[in-house]
Symmetry: C2
Subunit: 322 residues, 2 copies
């Protein structure tokens, strides 16, 4: 990974990904005890930053290869990002999804023109199904995070923040699953805004990245279910993303599911944004882990907004008046 | 009102108001049968476009006059816009609000540093209370819409759209109360984007502007209560705003409260935006009054997002899966 790959991805994304705004509210500043700047990546196409990496990877393919189609495994935001980026490129997309994935996510992925292949988590292997389809049709796999072109695409989110905040020194809290967004942003900041330091933010009990950074080597989560922050529950840091973060990231932060829901309600009330639980953990840390953060400004990314209406209503019921 | 006043307001707003994004979703395009572009003015400071007009009016005051303070009557978005614009200017703001206004709106207005004076709607006159305070302290009244500097400020929203959509021909649907935003945008388009035509959008039964445009003279609403679209229930078009719209606007559109709530749920699901009912009527018309709209592109403004969590949850419950 070098900065030229990141700049090339930024150029491929120009005019296709949205430049998302950096928002703020004096009420959030007061709550956090410092200035809070929120990168509204939930406003990205398909409702999450994943569109950036998917577009970067698909646009980097040789036209002949791309024309045969792409493949992804995902039940969530990566599925939608790949489906939409492929649709705009006019190439086929096959998304292998668990049959018990939320009906809405399956419908959305189909709505973006992808062929959805369902599998039974208990009896079947998605890699076997995907591998067979890939070799039969010549599809190219687009991994969710551990891929140079995906990381380079996510880096564009960091370049935008660097452009918006020249000469700023601040911690930048990033909702972290496999580390694609966090590592891409870290590389962007290294080159464009050395005063900005990424800090991965995870749900309590699923802090594989925080523990890996502390240990200096990859540590795994013992489980990938049991938090409402489904979008960022990954088994372990990636082989590409971890070394980048080990070199560039500050210590990880964690928040509880209730704090993530509280942050969702505050994003609703103070920013008029819809955040999903996994997309709200960085804002939650900015607000509720203030003593672990240094400096008079903190930046945080709301990384996605694809949340079930019932769960969102639950967050408003619990924390809407808080 | 001339275009120089509008350009001067735009210049005063530069670096203070947010340039809000123009968003879209292929799912909304499909529903509407044409391309739908959404101006996300709910992301403006204080959660509505009202900050633009308030900033414009307050920044245009002589410094000596401004230092004595400003006054507004409002229980809603204008109150917050004036309070915040005054706070940043470092001048006092007195907001006269009904004692039965929602506690959250009173708290927010106070949170922006304003002095809130409560009055009893049944027994007291807000004009009497406000007038006495104004003459005693030398406060300047900032009206909600019928004021050249307020209209010039709202026009900046139209200039941004004109810059984003050069050489486009389209109807631009605007949530319309007294007509400050709609008339300001109409003047901006007249000069900068003659292919764009504003069309005021109102709740069924509160279509004073639509009826006035049809009659060619001001018609009043028989009531200003009875719709959930509280932000845009005004007694009649303004004496300044109506002649502008009579000259420049296309026919008005109306939607039901249920359609406004449905549009709120779709803004949540497809755009990740929080819209209040009165702020969602233009999107509702774009989606559900498609046969009254011409052209292959429609623009609509989500004008505000200051909605009670319980009402928002109700909209999600009713239309979140639709």
């Amino acid at each position: 990974m070098n900065i030229d790959e990141i700049h090339a991805a930024r150029d491929r994304l120009a005019g296709h990904a949205r430049r998302t705004p950096l928002l703020s509210s004096p009420f959030l500043d007061e709550l956090a005890g410092r200035r809070v700047l929120v990168k509204a990546e939930c406003l990205q196409h398909t409702g999450s930053f994943k569109f950036r990496g998917a577009w970067s990877a698909i646009s980097a393919l040789d036209p002949d290869v791309r024309a045969r189609g792409v493949l992804a495994y995902s039940s969530g935001n990566h599925a939608q990002g790949v489906a939409r980026a492929a649709q705009i490129h006019g190439c086929p997309a096959v998304i292998v999804m668990p049959a018990d994935a939320p009906a809405l996510k399956i419908a959305n992925t189909r709505g973006f023109g992808a062929e959805v292949v369902l599998y039974d988590r208990a009896r079947e292997s998605r890699e076997e199904i995907g591998g067979a389809l890939a070799s039969e049709r010549g599809l190219t796999l687009i991994p969710p995070y551990d891929h140079p072109m995906v990381i380079a695409g996510q880096a564009s989110c960091g370049i935008e923040i660097a452009e918006d905040l020249p000469d700023t020194t601040a911690d930048v809290l990033v909702c972290c699953g496999g580390g694609g967004l966090t590592s891409g942003m870290a590389l962007a900041f290294e080159h464009h805004a050395p005063g900005l330091r990424v800090r991965p933010t995870e749900p309590d009990g699923f802090d594989d990245m925080a523990r890996s950074l502390q240990a200096g080597e990859i540590r795994r989560n013992s489980s990938t279910t049991g938090s409402i922050c489904d979008a960022i529950l990954t088994p372990a840091p990636g082989d590409l993303t971890f070394p980048i973060l080990n070199r560039l990231a500050g210590p990880g932060l964690t928040v509880s599911d209730d704090q993530a829901m509280h942050a969702m309600a505050l994003a609703f009330k103070r920013l008029k944004l819809v955040a999903e639980p996994g997309g709200a953990v960085a804002l939650a840390a900015a607000l509720f882990r203030a003593d672990e953060i240094v400096g008079d400004t903190v930046v945080c990314v709301i990384s996605g907004g694809n949340v079930d209406p019932a769960l969102f209503a639950e967050a408003l019921g619990k924390f809407g008046d808080a």
